[in-house]
């Protein structure tokens, strides 16, 4: 906090003492409301009591914990085919539930529950990596544009505008379709690329806001080196909206990955399961065996909802307009 608290004002005369007491009283009074806490602390105070945020957080934590312990939880190897013998191409293409296999198998005789459990890992990886790469690219571009301003800013922003002029999911389809051999990585890159311009625009906006702020002016007049101003004074203060956006992008990335897999642009190698890909693979059986699509879809929806709830309430908590 840059403001000196009133207690530290040296008190020499009785007049100053009285004034100090008045200021203290004033400070206490305003502290009762929202007082001398940072934006993050005050945001946390509101979030702690927000049921929407707590539900989102609970879903997210469950999902992450499941993904971590999935290999020990899953009763079968997700690539093994214990139900292969039950498959009859004409009469019974998808083995139903039976003892030991509560959700039944998939069309290749693999245990569905194990695949769902282990699938959380790949889904989490796709979501996190796509968001991370998008964030890295966007933060780099946004920092460059916001730090240099002038023609660099114009140039970067025109490129960003062109990327934004294609609907984002359509752009992701295009990038994924261009890969000669689709894989998990082409999927991640396609989704990440689409997020770059969004992150860049957001960060550039708040960097420009920082540029004009008093503390940057103060740092500049104190002779702080330009790169230190950018990285230690502007960037940390400008990252807020970008981090909120990243939480929301996690949800978008998981949903978009499912859409890409649905169109056949995802990872064709299904030994390591991923929910989007499982949903895509369930397509031919949509009419007869809807549960095959229903389980991975439900997982995707719940997890995406968890990230969305968290992101939305974070955004609301950090937005000064909704803080009344």
């Amino acid at each position: 906090m840059s403001d000196q608290s009133p207690q530290q004002t040296p008190a020499r005369t009785s007049y100053a003492d009285r004034r100090k007491q008045r200021l203290d009283a004033l400070a206490r009074a305003s502290a009762d409301e929202e007082g001398g806490v940072s934006l993050i602390v005050s945001a946390w105070r509101r979030l702690r009591r927000n049921p929407v945020f707590l539900v989102g957080l609970a879903i997210t934590i469950t999902f992450v914990v499941l993904a971590v312990i999935a290999p020990w939880l899953a009763p079968y190897d997700p690539a093994a085919r214990p139900l292969l013998d039950d498959i009859r191409p004409q009469t019974n293409p998808v083995p139903g539930p039976e003892p030991g296999h509560p959700l039944g198998g998939d069309d290749k005789g693999r245990d569905l529950l194990s695949r769902l459990l282990v699938g959380s890992q790949q889904t989490l990886m796709v979501g996190v990596l796509a968001t991370l790469f998008g964030l890295l690219g966007g933060v780099t571009l946004g920092t460059v544009a916001g730090a240099f301003a002038g023609w660099v800013d114009s140039l970067v922003m025109r490129v960003v505008d062109v990327m934004l002029s294609i609907p984002s999911l359509l752009l992701a389809f295009t990038i994924a379709a261009l890969a000669s051999r689709p894989s998990q990585w082409t999927l991640i890159i396609a989704i990440a690329t689409v997020q770059v311009p969004i992150f860049a625009r957001l960060l550039r906006g708040s960097m420009l806001g920082q540029r004009a702020s008093d503390h940057v002016l103060a740092a500049r007049s104190l002779g702080v080196k330009p790169h230190a101003i950018v990285f230690r004074h502007m960037l940390p203060n400008a990252l807020g909206p970008v981090i909120v956006q990243a939480t929301l992008v996690l949800a978008v990335a998981i949903i978009d990955a499912a859409a890409l897999s649905f169109l056949g642009l995802g990872n064709p190698d299904d030994r390591r399961p991923e929910w989007g890909q499982m949903l895509g693979a369930a397509q031919p059986y949509l009419g007869q065996e809807p549960h095959l699509a229903f389980y991975p879809a439900a997982c995707i929806i719940v997890v995406a909802l968890g990230f969305t709830l968290m992101g939305e309430s974070l955004r609301e908590a950090l937005d000064p307009k909704t803080r009344r």
Partner: protein
């Protein structure tokens, strides 16, 4: 105002030019390139070189680009290699455009007709059951993949309960006259009411599926924006003056709250275009989206080129129109 429009038009031309360059470079920088896609399994070195020469692909890239643009201005984007082999790529786009326009139009109407009134009501009754339910519904709506919504609707309303047609734009065997390619409008224009009704029934499920995300977004923006405006001093002043609730709602709240909503509706055209790819695939709706999906899967580059450029052009154009509308509503924008 004129200067504003001209400047935005010039910007749009610039964006489209850069985009054409990007699409061109992308599609040609593929490993193997378009020729491998054309030849597929029958690929040999000699065949490959012959075809590359025939298509002008042995020329340097800048030369190829200039030629590509020359042809593009004459409306020649090459012929389809996979989706409809031999068919002109631009013709495929044009013949499929009405189907997608019809679908997107209905989806957008549903999204706006539900989203704005619900958003207004939710804001007016903030904290009530209606507000909470609609907020939760809109959050879930965004979390469900579009194609899964489409599949659920199809599974229950068409397959299980048999209420609406499963797929397509019109029943097979129905002899309807074509005028515009928009089937419902055609039916109304030619007074073939049964055809219009049939087409409308086919439209219900796909447009509902496509409308979910735009609805959720329009709803949330309307709610947030009405909440903002309700807190404004001028609304309190209007109330203090004793104006009727109707006048306050129409003239003071809604008019000011609609500004961000207009922008959002424009941006939803993007969600509609990419959503159409998924929805049309689920419902076998023979529109631009389905052609795109096939193009992606089968790597039909000429078709992809046209469709992606056209999609971007539509998106940019719609947003230009939105900006102009916005400037008309809000004079502050013009002077900026």
């Amino acid at each position: 105002m004129l200067r504003f429009v001209v400047r935005r038009l010039l910007q749009m031309v610039g964006v489209l030019l850069v985009l054409s360059l990007l699409v061109f470079v992308w599609l040609r920088s593929l490993p193997g390139g378009p020729v491998s896609a054309l030849l597929g399994e029958r690929q040999t070195e000699a065949r490959r070189e012959a075809l590359e020469r025939a298509l002008g692909l042995d020329q340097p890239l800048p030369v190829q680009y200039v030629r590509f643009m020359q042809r593009a201005f004459q409306g020649d984007f090459g012929v389809s290699t996979q989706v409809l082999p031999g068919e002109d790529a631009l013709d495929i786009f044009l013949s499929r455009l009405p189907a997608t326009l019809e679908l997107s139009f209905f989806a957008l109407v549903i999204a706006i007709a539900l989203g704005i009134p619900l958003g207004y009501l939710a804001a007016r009754r903030k904290g009530t059951a209606l507000d909470t339910t609609s907020v939760i519904f809109s959050l879930v709506g965004v979390a469900v993949p579009v194609f899964f919504t489409a599949f659920l609707l199809k599974y229950f309303f068409a397959v299980e309960w048999n209420l609406l047609p499963v797929s397509g734009r019109q029943s097979i065997g129905l002899d309807a006259t074509r005028v515009t390619g928009l089937f419902v409008l055609d039916g109304i224009l030619t007074r073939e009411w049964d055809a219009a009704w049939d087409a409308l029934k086919h439209l219900v499920l796909p447009s509902l599926a496509l409308a979910t995300i735009p609805f959720a977004v329009v709803f949330r923006i309307t709610r947030a924006s009405v909440l903002d405006v309700l807190d404004e001093d001028y609304v309190r002043t209007a109330e203090a003056k004793g104006l009727t609730a109707k006048v306050i709602r129409g003239r003071h709240v809604l008019r000011n709250a609609m500004l961000p909503v207009v922008t959002t509706v424009g941006l939803q055209v993007g969600a509609l275009l990419s959503g159409a790819v998924l929805t049309e695939t689920v419902f076998s709706w023979r529109g631009v989206g389905q052609a795109l999906a096939e193009g992606f899967l089968q790597k039909d580059y000429p078709v992809l080129q046209v469709l992606i450029m056209a999609a971007a052009a539509i998106y940019v154009l719609v947003n230009l129109l939105v900006d102009i509308t916005y400037a008309l509503i809000d004079p502050r924008i013009r002077t900026r």
